[in-house]
Symmetry: C2
């Protein structure tokens, strides 16, 4: 039978902690022959629970693992309750500042480790937010509301609908900007969804996340949130954007167009980058400045009448093409009643020849098939090679320079309103929310280090 964890600890460490009834957040002292450490007891990742280390948070904020042997002495020198700081004086907000509401959906950005349970707890209320980052009270009149509490990997089209509805409601209510706190895994998809689902926006919708949680010294939460509030309050554009670190330091953030942004790194702070498009703006949260760097923006205008179109069809697949792909996979999608397929093809927009008859059958059955490229950078051009021309003849809709992820969101959105393939084609080929860049994008290619 598997041993039951004690805050993730097992074996010797668990035994020693239980003996002194230490709870996570308690101040403890760990005495070894050579060294003594003091700090707050932290929970242990269950996967590491068998390793003979106890994790404590030192007063300088860093977590360390201290080796525990039979001779190690662990003492409790302070309890969790005593460590809670006295509540600070409530901050008085300035009512003449732009009104910005943060709708939180979950994710690292709103997570703080709860020392009581060891669990990660979303920080939600306006008070908590202002206590955490008081400087945003100088940027905007701040409110916060929790609308979801999920990891962003659990995001789904029906939740895009809900977020869009909330954002729309608050836009109509007269807010000057909306911040959406979101996990980073799928933030690009949601940014694209909000770009399509609210037409004729009055004010910006700013998605923001964090790559490192707020209990880590390298956290980017406060910097990103400040940049996001600044963008929501003051940016001249009324688009769905992602605002995140622009480089690894704290010099600036970037505001990326929601339909052109992609998470390009698993862990770097500047993971989000624009593809085939310039960022809309460089955001300097410390200086309170926004420098617009893209000539084409949809302008902020509170007299506009936003329109909510937040239906998304869930019977759409994003399918990557690779050598040896079996047509059977597409056959199955046809049989299962899918409505749309976004192919992430090779090069200029190709699939193996042997897939084309099945793709043709899919189109004949009324399924919208859209071509994008796994190269990510550059534009689909299906006229150059015969494979591309055959795919066009089979009825495939070329996805221009759209990101595969954005094409997926867009097709799901279009199919929420029409399944007429002519209409779907027309809409897929129209630039609705900046997802197609007709200008020359070939120079918008990053430079690799040598």
């Amino acid at each position: 039978m598997q041993e039951i964890d004690y805050y993730g600890y097992r074996g010797l460490v668990k035994e020693k902690l239980m003996k002194i009834n230490a709870r996570v957040g308690d101040r403890i002292r760990v005495v070894n022959v050579d060294k003594v450490f003091e700090g707050r007891l932290m929970p242990r990742e269950a996967l590491y629970g068998d390793r003979p280390f106890v994790v404590i948070k030192l007063d300088n904020g860093y977590n360390i693992g201290v080796r525990v042997t039979d001779t190690t002495i662990i003492e409790k020198i302070g309890s969790f309750e005593k460590a809670v700081p006295a509540p600070s004086k409530p901050l008085v907000q300035k009512s003449d500042l732009p009104r910005v509401i943060m709708l939180s959906t979950g994710g690292t950005i709103v997570s703080k480790v709860d020392y009581e349970t060891g669990a990660v707890k979303p920080a939600l209320s306006t008070e908590e937010l202002l206590e955490w980052i008081p400087e945003i009270a100088n940027i905007a009149y701040v409110e916060a509301k929790e609308i979801l509490r999920i990891f962003s990997e659990d995001m789904a089209p029906r939740l895009w609908s809900k977020i869009a509805e909330e954002a729309y409601k608050h836009m109509i209510d007269g807010y000057d900007g909306i911040v959406i706190a979101h996990g980073t895994d799928t933030m690009g998809y949601t940014a694209a969804a909000l770009a399509f689902a609210i037409r004729n926006k009055r004010v910006p919708i700013v998605l923001v996340g964090a790559q490192r949680s707020s209990d880590r010294p390298s956290t980017d939460s406060a910097f990103n949130l400040t940049a996001a509030f600044l963008t929501a309050a003051k940016a001249p554009f009324a688009e769905s954007v992602v605002v995140m670190h622009g480089e690894t330091g704290d010099a600036y953030a970037l505001a990326h167009r929601g339909t052109k942004v992609r998470k390009m790194h698993t862990s770097r702070r500047d993971a989000f980058q624009s593809i085939n498009e310039r960022p809309l703006a460089i955001v300097y949260p410390r200086e309170g400045k926004i420098k617009v760097v893209n000539k084409i923006i949809e302008h902020r205008d509170k007299s506009k009448e936003p329109i909510l179109k937040n239906r998304f069809d869930e019977k759409v697949i994003l399918l990557k093409v690779y050598p040896g792909i079996d047509p059977e996979i597409i056959e199955v999608l046809i049989d299962k009643g899918y409505h749309g397929i976004v192919l992430e093809g090779t090069g200029l927009g190709h699939t193996p020849q042997w897939l084309i008859p099945t793709i043709k059958r899919a189109v004949e059955e009324g399924i919208a098939v859209v071509m994008t490229s796994q190269c990510l950078f550059g534009r689909i051009d299906m006229y150059v090679y015969s494979t591309g021309r055959k795919l066009l003849t089979a009825g495939v809709i070329p996805g221009e320079d759209m990101l595969p992820e954005t094409a997926y969101v867009k097709l799901s959105w279009i199919l929420g309103y029409t399944r007429d393939l002519k209409e779907v084609r027309k809409l897929m080929l129209s630039n609705i929310a900046g997802e197609i860049n007709y200008r020359l994008t070939v120079n918008l290619y990053p430079r690799w280090p040598l």
Copy 2:
């Protein structure tokens, strides 16, 4: 009934060309009221066949379309045969140079428009190659052999086996380097396949392609081929590499490790880039120089005994994860008897929670499930968030910093030899051909233009 094309032309243009019995490659004069053009008749893309233009290649090498109206006069002023240049003196090769063989598989790199048929024809023979790019005779004693004639989008695991067998045979035969001419669409996949399929290489295997065909003024064929022959003849490493333009000019090419390279742009000459790894070398074809820039290389050594392990399992899928993905898709793969699934997950290596029970079932049924990230850059770390830990518990193998495409090739290769999941896991987590970079890769991130 559909009209039959005349070299792709239809309607008025076809009529006028047939009247003078003009064949593609013939020299023609097109006389309009305002202007006269002379050049060689070119074939027309069938999709444009109805447009009233005739395409000619001017003497400066550019192709133009000249409008044809009822009053346009088209004259034939020279026939194709007369234009053929006198055969040049056969070039005498230097037998003291390294022996390099080019195995061509097809693709733009070996394509020249055949003016007789209008078709694109692979240039294959040693003589044709040397006539086209005489300077490579100063680099190597050159031979050429056609082993396949396909577009690279039609590449498949069983063809990787064939290419590997040919490359192995010629390595054993004592060649000093092997060039594989390949279409660019799936060249990265084949480069990875050859990295795994021949163990203990003696000499380099250099994949090379072209982004622009050799009848276009902007062609990169000759530059890339020269760089590839130079690398095959002289590079100090014995790895499977991709050699292509390093930037848009003709200053240098880059040799990328086959397991770490990816086509990142649909059309730029420098589309191929290393991900999470430095290139192995900068190649200067004009100066005949190779500058190695990666400290870790597998060295060229003709005393080594290469081992051919060229089995690939075709029952493997590369599956991209996206918001709303239906577990049903994985259920189907289980039921269809798939042996391996490479997930292109979100962020550090996640899927939606609702996928986990199905993934667990897949593993229980003996299917190897490997996690990679759609971010491309950075490393999988499934210990940070609970979703990752749950996926690990379900039996998912974390793909480190491997490219999704490389993980797909590697899993297909491993499953060609064993379906024992413990063994598969061990091999997937071992660095076999440079596909895993254990060093810090966080700084190998390109810089986006601002």
